[in-house]
Symmetry: C3
Amino acid sequence: MAIGINSGMSTALLAIEVFGIIAFASSGFIEARRKDMDLIGVFTVAFITAFGGGTLRDILLDRRPLFWVQHQEYTLLIFGLALIVLPLSHHLRSSTAERAIIFVDALGLGLFSAVGASVAQDAQMPIFVCVMMGVITAIFGGVLRDVICNEIPLVFRRGQLYATCAFIGSWVYLILDLADVHQTIALISSIFVTSTMRLLAVRFNLTLPA
Amino acid sequence: MAIGINSGMSTALLAIEVFGIIAFASSGFIEARRKDMDLIGVFTVAFITAFGGGTLRDILLDRRPLFWVQHQEYTLLIFGLALIVLPLSHHLRSSTAERAIIFVDALGLGLFSAVGASVAQDAQMPIFVCVMMGVITAIFGGVLRDVICNEIPLVFRRGQLYATCAFIGSWVYLILDLADVHQTIALISSIFVTSTMRLLAVRFNLTLPA
Amino acid sequence: MAIGINSGMSTALLAIEVFGIIAFASSGFIEARRKDMDLIGVFTVAFITAFGGGTLRDILLDRRPLFWVQHQEYTLLIFGLALIVLPLSHHLRSSTAERAIIFVDALGLGLFSAVGASVAQDAQMPIFVCVMMGVITAIFGGVLRDVICNEIPLVFRRGQLYATCAFIGSWVYLILDLADVHQTIALISSIFVTSTMRLLAVRFNLTLPA
């Protein structure tokens, strides 16, 4: 196992990163399958969705090796996941698929914004940059997924809260951490706030003023 | 204040960077508002337009911290600018908005190509790379703005001179600088050439041969 | 001449890189010309197609100077190439142009996947990452070309093998190299497999299962 910059990542953070990858890769599998892509297309979209946000974060922070170079098991994870998700996605009706994507995407949004904010903090970035990195890590993979699949990115569709949830969730983590709350609790609170807020926004069509 | 790579930037260069950010962020505000985006969308587009070109330049040159990480006041500047530009943009008719965007975009083009060329020169890049960095810094933010807002990027629309202006303006700066002209004068000449040329190109519909 | 990371590149590798640049730049020239872009547009597309994949690879691997910064003669090469390709492309009928693009693109695919895998190996990346870098180097320039020219990227069009060829070709190089075959032979075998496979895929419409 390579000894890298983030070898000191806590177990909680690693677990959250893994779940975030599973969530976003699944959304990629389902979306690409709906678009009737072939196997390589489906894998490409799943990889890009799962690794896009963290890669941009690592490039902006100049962290090397990139997180998926350091943890090669993440790539295997996506191959393994395909064996479970792809057969299932054959049986999804279109409306169910859409709801499934929104759900796993909301989960991934919460998980990755917490990871992103925490990684930036670890790199001793000022607090405002940590928030931006939380948002970028959370939304960029999904933006790439939607662009490739020729959808208007969720984040730019008018109305429903999206980036705002990641923004607020990142602040929750950083403020709790400043207040010396245990990191695991700060992470879980942040994830809970982001994902719940996103799901409520979809359910009740919450919007920002124009 | 962080002591970074570009802490030795001259006051003239800093002032030009600030004005470039104001120009491009304004173009982003107006464009996103025309597209009827919500508040978060409007801010996102303004940030990306103002910071996109310089970020790509910093990544290609491997400069860290990124210019907007080092100067966090730039982010606050965009928030402050919103308080002025957004209420105004409500009263713009569509044709006025279009002309306003072309004008601030031309200004930003001039300001950022001078900054980009000068930053690359500072990093001791060979002269041809300095020119490319001037062009990239000047046009990439606007390309991202247009892509996000679903417009064909100005730079790729057939005919009117655009990247060409940044290209010539970057040469102006670099040649004057080689000729030992005072940096401030070289910068101002470059900005004047680029922006004027771009505005004349729009006004008289100047084109390149196909 | 700058002494950089890849100054130790073998002559064979340099030659392959140069031919890859010629192939992809030509595909960019022809595609942009078909889209009726002006001169600057045509050059921009040719540059981006030829340098896009290698630039992303260098950024992901944190290699500086970028390969086209280190070898400035590559930029001149594209200018020179324009003098030959552009007058020719005027006389191409649309169907001929399409076939010409597919051919040079297949060639570039083979050349760049071999270069990409070999550069990553040189940077002592683990083997799986080397394969990914081969694929990324080979396909990313073409993706950008197609996106700018408003075509659905070849790689994401349903059915025909594309990224798969680069994937298999990268493995060919890496396995032959592990087996201590002379590097030049490993490179040529990899290029031959990738390009031939891609051309056969187009000719016989070979597809992957969905």
